[in-house]
Structures are given as C-alpha cells and as structure tokens.
C-alpha cells in the first residue's frame, strides 16, 4: 500500500497523534484528508502529524494540511508536523509553511 495512516487520541494530553507511512500524492491525498477530518470530527483537539515514516509528500498533501489547518484554527486548534524528512523539510521551507506547520524547524 502506498499510504497507511494510524491515529490515536491521547486522552491525557488531549491531542491526536496521527502517523502517515508511505507517500502522499494525488492518488493518496484524499486518505490523509479523511483521516484528519474524521479525527477532528470525533474529538475537536490539536493534531500532531508524525512524519518519521513519510517518504514523500508534494503540494497535494500540503493542500490537505493547509485546509485542515484553516478549519481547525477557526476553533482555536492547531496542527503540527513532527520529524519530517529532508525532502519534506525542503518543501516546507520553500513554501514558507515551516513557520506555520513545523515551528521546530525554525528554532
């Protein structure tokens, strides 16, 4: 499978941990969108996207995350990316989305 997504809600911290594995592109971006939307519908809380095992993402994935970010911000929630690989770091940097989605890269 090109993309697998695991999600779990941390009740103690009140955050979603979502871990996509594989590639996010035009054929799999809708899976990421559904995972984010379903999680947020279930529990309106911050989302941490763990990118340790995400090999590839392009503008289709960024679009999904920006969309979710916008909807969550309206309710005061946040979405944060953790441990993106070098190729995804570069994508975040050139689009200036690192400050918004992955502040750890700008520290």
């Amino acid at each position: 499978m090109m993309l697998q997504i695991q999600r779990s809600f941390d009740r103690e911290k009140g955050v979603w941990n979502i871990t996509p594995k594989g590639d996010v592109d035009i054929s799999t971006a809708s899976m990421l969108r559904s995972a984010l939307d379903e999680a947020y519908r279930e529990n309106k809380a911050d989302i941490i996207l763990h990118f340790d095992d995400l090999n590839y993402m392009d503008s289709t994935g960024l679009g999904v995350i920006i969309g979710a970010y916008g909807r969550m911000k309206e309710n005061g929630n946040n979405i944060t990316l953790k441990n993106p690989r070098d190729n995804i770091r570069k994508l975040l940097r050139i689009t200036n989305l690192d400050r918004l989605l992955c502040p750890e890269l700008c520290e």
Partner: protein, 133 residues
C-alpha cells in the same frame, strides 16, 4: 545527439507515482545526488498532477519526455487538452491548493530552468531542466 525516453501515461492519479519512480531511477543512473533526485521527483509529480487535474480530456493520455544530456536532464510533461489562458480562472480542484499555483511555484523553486508553453486549441508543455553539478 542526446538519448531520449518517452512515457505515454494515462491521465489517472494512480499512475503519477509510477512516473515518479521511473524518473527517480533515471536521475539516479545519471549520477544526480539524493537531494537533486528528490527535487526532480517532486517537480515531475507536480507537473503530472497538474495534467491529471486540469490537462486531460476524460482519461486521455499525456506524455513525459526525458532528454538525457551530458550535463543535464530535461523533462517535458506534455498534454493535448487544448491549452489554457493563464490569465483566466481555472476550475478549482480539491487535490491542488490555489488551483495548481502552488505546484508550479514548487516546480520553479526546485528545478534549474522551467518553461511553460501553452497553445490554445492544442495543449500545454512544461519543460524542466536539472543540471548535474
């Protein structure tokens, strides 16, 4: 004369990753470093995504042409969907934010040279160049 490779690709989302992998192998065999290969993979995917979202009629095919030169790889993604006027509004697409504008921005940021030629009534060609350092 430079070697050429051409792929004829169905305009469906599931084949974009196949093109990405093929071009990645090609770039690797030409001696590009890991960062350049990743740049090329994203740029090609963005160009193909643009075609799949906006540049095919039905599930029509498009072409990905690779020109293997001594000092560079030239990749052209060519559709025959009638071209478009960049000044006019294009149909919004859920898969590509800002109507594909972000994709083109990324391509230009990652590749050394980018040329977009659109001919009304014919189609659009995105030509991308990456130099082997």
């Amino acid at each position: 004369m430079a070697d050429m490779m051409k792929f004829s690709v169905p305009g469906k989302p599931q084949y974009v990753s196949t093109v990405r992998m093929a071009i990645s192998c090609l770039a690797n065999s030409l001696g590009f470093d890991v960062e350049a290969i990743e740049d090329i993979k994203i740029a090609v995917s963005e160009a193909c995504t643009n075609v799949v979202c906006h540049g095919t009629i039905g599930n029509g095919e498009y072409e990905v042409c690779c020109e293997l030169r001594e000092d560079r790889l030239v990749i052209s993604v060519v559709d025959k969907a009638g071209g478009y006027d960049p000044e006019t509004h294009r149909e919004p697409c859920l898969e590509c934010p800002k109507e594909g504008g972000l994709g083109l921005y990324i391509i230009k940021a990652l590749m050394d040279e980018v040329e977009i030629v659109t001919e009304m009534g014919i189609g659009t060609r995105i030509e991308m160049v990456k130099y082997t350092r």
